[in-house]
Symmetry: C3
């Protein structure tokens, strides 16, 4: 069984990374070459020349035309060969695969599966990343682990206490009760910590955002959307100020500060992933120094996770067939994995495995 579905949108680049030049990326074990066309749209092609497999990303881009760096075959942005050296007739089968691509919420999304199913309405909502009511920034890091280990990590924030004790972690996170729910494609874990001392990170944020100092109510609402996106609604408000919803009564967060940790994790190979993240906030929107500081602060927190995740992947490699026990804290992660498995199973039962069609069988002309 595959470790990821192919019929899904995966982030393959931050918007600013893609210029009118060739950029190599791997998504779901498929080597891709990306470039921004002269009309501003992004093109994504299979990164292997039809003729001798040389990566097209080793070649040259002229306008929207990619010239292979070995024998000079030229491809247009649809992947069709438009020129061959020393011959006038071009073999009609001469093309490389072109992938459905969309740009939304500051990410470039690619669909590695069945082209007919690529519906842009399925792109996860990460609007906080370019909504003027929010400010923030993010990064992409390459982590040497199965993308699901990053998702596991995000679905249970108990680990903050042990991995991030110096910044956002505190005993309260591991002790507070939480509620896990799920839908057809989503799973949610909600944790409220009432009347606690804010940990160093949040103490600084609430002071910056509202001037408040004192005990807080803290929340973490983790929302997974299959197969690879987790947006976490996080924040603190003065203790007792009513931020937490009660029954049908919505909460009032107006005295607090709110952030969103936006995460979408793309399987690069079975054991590596591209982890795109951003941190957006609804306070001090024009404070550029704060944006810079938060980006670097979150980056250093995620580096702590990276070490753990790569050590865990190595341990998994050394224990093939190990069946994992789940604790109470793993409720969210269990649902997350069930939803992913359901997508993969449906795809594999569907018969038409898109990955099989990546490299069509070609005979010698």
């Amino acid at each position: 069984m595959s470790t990821f579905p192919l019929n899904a949108w995966y982030a393959c680049a931050y918007d600013v990374e893609v210029k009118n030049e060739l950029l190599a990326r791997t998504v779901c074990n498929q080597k891709l070459v990306l470039f921004r066309r002269l009309d501003g749209a992004v093109a994504v092609l299979e990164d292997a020349c039809w003729h001798r497999l040389l990566p097209l990303s080793n070649g040259r881009l002229n306008g929207d035309a990619v010239t292979c760096g070995y024998h000079g075959l030229v491809y247009n942005a649809d992947g069709r060969c438009t020129h061959m050296p020393s011959q006038e007739t071009i073999n009609p089968s001469a093309c490389v695969r072109a992938y459905p691509v969309a740009e939304k919420h500051r990410f470039v999304w690619v669909w590695p599966g069945d082209v007919a199913l690529a519906d842009e309405a399925l792109i996860p909502d990460m609007h906080w990343n370019d909504d003027p009511a929010w400010a923030g920034d993010g990064k992409m890091i390459r982590v040497h682990c199965d993308y699901r280990l990053v998702l596991d990590n995000l679905m249970d924030l108990t680990h903050e206490t042990f991995v991030h004790g110096g910044s956002i972690g505190q005993a309260a996170v591991a002790e507070a009760p939480f509620v896990a729910t799920h839908g057809e494609r989503t799973a949610t874990v909600t944790r409220w910590m009432e009347n606690i001392d804010a940990p160093p990170f949040w103490a600084r944020q609430v002071r910056t955002g509202t001037g408040y100092e004192g005990p807080v109510d803290r929340w973490q609402i983790i929302r997974f959307e299959a197969p690879a996106t987790i947006n976490i609604d996080v924040g603190v408000a003065p203790a007792g100020s009513g931020a937490q919803p009660k029954g049908d009564q919505p909460g009032n967060r107006s005295q607090g500060v709110n952030g969103y940790v936006l995460n979408t994790i793309t399987p690069e190979t079975d054991k590596t992933c591209l982890y795109f993240w951003a941190f957006a906030r609804n306070y001090a929107l024009h404070d550029q120094r704060l944006t810079h500081e938060l980006r670097e602060g979150v980056a250093s927190i995620f580096r702590e996770d990276e070490l753990i995740l790569e050590a865990q992947q190595q341990a998994i490699n050394e224990h093939p067939g190990y069946s994992f026990y789940n604790l109470n804290i793993d409720a969210g992660s269990m649902w997350m994995r069930r939803l992913i498995d359901k997508m993969i199973a449906a795809e594999e039962q569907g018969g038409a495995k898109p990955s099989k069609r990546v490299i069509p069988l070609r005979s010698v002309a």
Copy 2:
């Protein structure tokens, strides 16, 4: 067939290496975490958290309690989980394997096999390493070869002539006759070289120990104890002074100098090993400079072996299935390998392969 028995004591650390902090080691393909408990005894646990397999050596030690660095599960020195985050009831199966361990003759010994068979009387005698009548010191090196190649190397000292020509080697070693004998768990190779010029190393030792200069009788008595220990009784005495036993008559070594090269080689993986050695002497016991000089001198001799052994391992990898011829000089090594093979075969016929029980099959709770 395995390359090593599991029902045996293997050195996993020098005594001084183990403090009240977490130390990762691998023995017989099993990842271990070692620490010295507050009562001074050593604990050895499986180095993989029951929950998500993160190495416990990535975590923290508080007193005798190991806290996993990911989600904070706590284990006591017996490997039993005593705390889980966000839940009060602890799953009774939550534990990691604890290994039988003993400290003797300056080494920490671990038993990777069937716990019921771990009898401390089976720990090899290496008492010269902490006997007040002897002085010396040693090191541990990690060699990238099957541990049996190190044992082969030690069972035939002919190689000294070719590998260690600048120090202890001399043509006499390759030319002198030797006698090989064996018992149930031991194999011995005895070589006497009578009335020869001492090689540089031994000329220096006998001069330091006794003031003597001149021709010597030299001995090498190599004693293997299955599966992985070789103690070598070495020395020189003035030629004709009666050091060599004759018939029932014991030898008189009182005019000579005597050393023991103590070696125990622990399989780390199938193709790497932890080589623990020491050199103990019965002369100039309080000469610290000599202890230092001998330790570094032997270390540089062993580095010459290391290069040969790693080149040999690589050649073996490149010739799978190669059947080796044995020369006369290989008599001791042949017996050594037969005794090891016998232990492995007995263990594998016994049915209960202990290595199978390292990671019990666990279902999702």
Copy 3:
């Protein structure tokens, strides 16, 4: 199916590389040790001691005798063991394989296959490399690709336009028509480019050789000799000076300059090769500066190829089973591969696979 025939002469060293000292090389997956005997001839032996497989190249050479660096077995230049430690009788099977070897046209050639078939008349003609009417020099580089990818590269010089645009490449090469022919063991691709501007490299050569500046007729006559040698007759002459043969009329190259790019590519392993090349010219024979400049100039052109070839090999590894399309420009390479495949098939049908005999099965004495 193997990727190379074994019954063939392969270059394993430049003449000057082989001195009276041990040199390790790998040819067709076989580890060899080379040395020049006292009588000046070259000996090539299997690089693994009969006893414990230690590479003999780790040992010592005394005159024509190789002493193993572990236990001191001595071998003569025929690979026969002439001395064993601690025993007088030498096992008659104690030997390592000795390979047929010949020195010709500045290369040392080894025959890894059936000794009975090693006919020196089969060594490819590369006489330009030591003919007094020609001057030049060359190098050996190790390329991390199947040797046939280097041959593909040389059989179609269209790639000059795209890979070597700054030196020898020009659009004319990709546009000019060519003729491909073949024989029993050879394949030839001939391309004439008439009345063109010389590219930078050739403009300099014709000015140096003849003082001529102006449009030229340029030729490339690529001749492959199975399994691994390609000599390329290259040059330019003043446009219209009659260099190109017409019908039965031979060409007159007397007003031009002529070079030979000599290439022989030895499979080292299935995915690495030893690429020996030289550039010989028939003008300015005593200009040492020019020899030096050409050698380094060609070396930097070949480094451009090296990057492409290693990227192509990696892409092939990632697309197992990919069937390649051929373009018109691949006519020469297609014939080249058919001739190699024919040699391999004949050898494998012959039954006696020489590679099987490299390491005879040996039982314990």
